[in-house]
Subunit: 362 residues, 2 copies
């Protein structure tokens, strides 16, 4: 029923071994024989049996890309970039083997699903795995991840982080590309402070995520440096609300912040989507942006330049980072020294931030 390599061999009047060598192209074969084999492949519409091939070779051409939220362009941009470096040179023909199948897996931010996906990829003997975005800081989960990644690495799977800080003492990871979330967060808040803002609300991401913590730490460092943060934890906490990285969280948290402290003159969102929701809430309260309240985000997603007013934010080179992660996963680029590279974050000042009321230059 289904055509096998042996069928191709018979039609090309060569041995199965020769067909295999032609398809994998990693062995000298006479040009004329190769032609004959390829014609037989086309004639028979033969498609290599991946499982059989992987079993025999003990490796597969699958590369997994894990993302926390596939509906968020933050991840989509990185995953797309990585995939374009990894997969499918794409002449559509692809009779031969050798192409990698780059494939994205959506964990939804759930640690269990993250581990499960890794197990599934391990089961497939994946050639490489790229983990994007922040990690959960729960010690139990971190230990489980380290163990799982170690086993993957032992089995020959290359492991690359993209936008995720390296695991402590884990040499399983081929390379870790990490964003300067702390520095970006600090510069953003410094910008607001330099405009004259003193009471700044912060809509943070979910608890126990590295991204959340680092961005918040940057914010607080700037506040503290300006003498604007209380000594205790409480003082900081009063103007901080945590929630998911989506517009709704920004919307609701902003209403809450405005209730807690009607005197806030600026709201910082953990990312651009949060900032968008925050903007909606601000306006719904009859306040203008930036005249009454400044709003800022993080990531500089494509839509941010088109909001009204355009959103002040911190730009992360998501596409470049994803592409580099893809090349690292392919072994097409040598890892940075120590396996770790920090990717810079650039402050983008736009129309959504301005000096607070009564504080403007005249």
């Amino acid at each position: 029923m289904t055509v096998t390599l042996a069928d191709v061999a018979a039609r090309a009047r060569v041995s199965p071994a020769t067909v295999s060598r032609v398809l994998n192209g990693n062995y000298p074969v006479a040009a004329t024989t190769r032609e004959r084999v390829l014609r037989a492949v086309d004639d028979l519409d033969y498609v290599l049996n991946g499982p059989a091939s992987s079993l025999a070779a003990a490796t597969s051409d699958l590369v997994g890309i894990l993302v926390n939220d596939i509906a968020d362009p933050f991840f989509g941009i990185m995953a797309g970039a990585a995939q374009s470096e990894i997969g499918v040179p794409g002449d559509g023909t692809s009779r031969a083997g050798g192409e990698k199948l780059a494939v994205v897996c959506n964990t939804g931010g759930s640690p269990e699903r993250e581990l499960t996906y890794l197990t599934l990829l391990q089961r497939q003997r994946a050639a490489a795995v790229v983990l994007t975005g922040g990690a959960l800081e729960d010690p139990g989960h971190q230990a489980a991840m380290a163990a799982k990644l170690g086993r993957l690495a032992d089995a020959g799977t290359r492991i690359v982080f993209c936008g995720r800080p390296p695991l402590p003492e884990n040499d399983a990871v081929t390379a870790a590309l990490t964003f300067d979330n702390r520095g970006g967060g600090r510069r953003l808040t410094e910008h607001l402070i330099s405009l004259g803002h003193r009471r700044i609300g912060y809509v943070a991401g979910p608890l126990e995520r590295t991204t959340t913590r680092h961005r918040l730490e940057g914010h607080r460092a700037a506040m503290r440096a300006a003498g604007l943060a209380g000594e205790g934890f409480d003082a900081d906490d009063r103007l901080t609300v945590h929630g998911p990285y989506d517009r709704r969280s920004g919307y609701e948290a902003t209403l809450e912040l405005l209730r807690r402290e009607p005197g806030v003159t600026a709201i910082v969102g953990a990312n651009d989507s949060v900032a968008l929701g925050a903007s909606a809430a601000v306006r719904e309260q009859g306040l203008r942006i930036p005249e009454d309240i400044s709003v800022a985000g993080f990531d500089d997603l494509p839509f941010s330049v088109d909001t009204v007013p355009a959103l002040t934010t911190v730009r992360l080179p998501l596409y470049e980072a994803g592409a580099r992660a893809g090349r690292l996963a392919m072994g097409a680029e040598t890892p940075p020294p120590g396996g770790i590279a920090t990717i810079g974050a650039e402050l983008m000042v736009r129309g959504s931030t301005a000096p607070p009321r009564g504080d403007r230059p005249r």
Copy 2:
């Protein structure tokens, strides 16, 4: 080195077959034996060899989800929904087999990559394939797709369309969920006409895509019904500009439309991102929305409610459609009669559309 099923069998003092039965759970096994086997699995950190298993069983647990642009939430939402129905019940343990690996593949809208991905999935003996979003209308590509899908179906792969019209006379497709793009486009333009608009610019998607054509046909049908379209092709064409489904296209096309016909009072974007770019261009020309120009989009992506003013658009139930496609791919839902279901599109009237200047009720 690597632990195999035989190792587990030895440790649990049963036969390999029994271990296999425990892991696949599709055969009666004594509870006590099962316990013993599972303990051995845990003790040894055993992970099933996917390729070997797939080879022996002649099926794999891979499900592919093809998207045109992974950075676009339109696809991210559908893919995420499908994935959540398909994969990873996710207790993190997953010692057993049986879980499907739902995996998304980004074609970037390229027909070659679409075919290549299908070949790669065919090579993996994928259990199912979900194709999302509009299709290319090029006859050559359509024929190639029909042939490829036919071969996949023959090999037992279930095929589901989500947001894509069915192929003519192709019974390879298990089910086709298609959006009412034409109806949505028509109702949107009817809304503008009812407000009093007469000169309406249209920023369409890329040529030769079903989605582009259907939405545009809806628009033109409404125009024609109101006696607002010229007889020839030219008249329609003058106020239509084609481009990719992104903000930049919306921005540039709008500048072009404004140049061609300064008297336009409304701009319709092929999707929300295009409409966002169009809004930016309108504002940059010193025009207000909706007082001077109305703007409308399509899809109702999450950000659309937060734009200023909120975007009038057409809502597509992307999550629900994706989830249903996922269930169909799993065989967990019976296909609609004839294998085809049309999913409704709902007009969402918001602040970005209003009567044209000098035409408002007073």
